[in-house]
Amino acid sequence: MKIGQIKELLDAELLCGEEYLDHDVFSACCSDMMSDVLAYVKDQGVLLTGLVNPQVIRTADMMDMVCIVFVRSKVPTEEMVALAKEFGIVVMKSRYRAYEACGHLYTAGLVPAPEEK
């Protein structure tokens, strides 16, 4: 799925990374616990979260993620967006709640990130 399609499906507002909208992603995960993101997932391209702090962006960078969606219209700070820009990560925000946002992406064929053994 193209990142741009995620934006459409979630009726999301793009905050940075317009140049990457035609990049492909193959899996996603959703969590407010960065501990779990670090521990449980691999090769995940997209992170959906309702947590707002710079560690969300840094965690995504550590995990080589390419797109972060803030759900429930959570607004990241300018610093966070600047950080994401530096890392080449697309950031968007959606009015959908986490469950609904995941449902839309799942239905459209974006599967969960495989768990690491």
Binding site: M33, M34, S35, D36, L38, A39, N53, R58, T59, D61
Partner: protein, 143 residues
């Protein structure tokens, strides 16, 4: 590489906002050095978990990273409270983090086991009331 490359960072324990900055920089440097993506990923995750631990459990400390031809060595040293029971702390899900830490997205008790998983060796030296030093090594060979 003819000579070893080293990086030193002071990790601020006062300011959670900056937690993880050292790991971000190391990741950037390792990319510049041309290490394999898998090695970079393993080093990044292990160091980041350790760096966050120093901030949330030990009021900060220092991080020293050495890159040799064979391996990446990460030494995280703090003067925090120490770890009373290492084998307990190593268990998945064991955490002393309070709700204020969970609200920040950490404190699932997964960090130390994750650091062990992603590194080829991990040694913990700790003394109560004195501090903790964790040394992790990731081999560059098995890309």
């Amino acid at each position: 590489m003819a000579e070893n490359v080293t990086f030193h960072f002071d990790v601020d324990g006062e300011n959670f906002t900056s937690a993880g900055e050292a790991s971000v920089l190391v990741k950037k440097k390792l990319r510049q050095l041309g290490l394999s993506p898998e090695v970079i990923r393993r080093v990044s995750i292990a160091m980041y978990e350790g760096e966050i631990n120093m901030v949330i459990h030990a009021d900060g400390g220092t991080a020293d990273v050495t890159v040799t031809d064979d391996e990446v060595i990460i030494v995280l040293a703090d003067r925090g409270p120490g770890i009373p029971d290492i084998s307990l702390a190593m268990q998945e899900g064991y955490s002393t983090a309070r709700d204020n830490i969970r609200a920040l997205g950490f404190g699932a008790g997964m960090g130390l086991p994750n650091m062990k998983k992603y590194t080829d060796s991990m040694e913990i030296e700790t003394e109560l009331g004195v501090g903790t030093t964790i040394t992790m090594k990731v081999s560059c060979k098995d890309a």
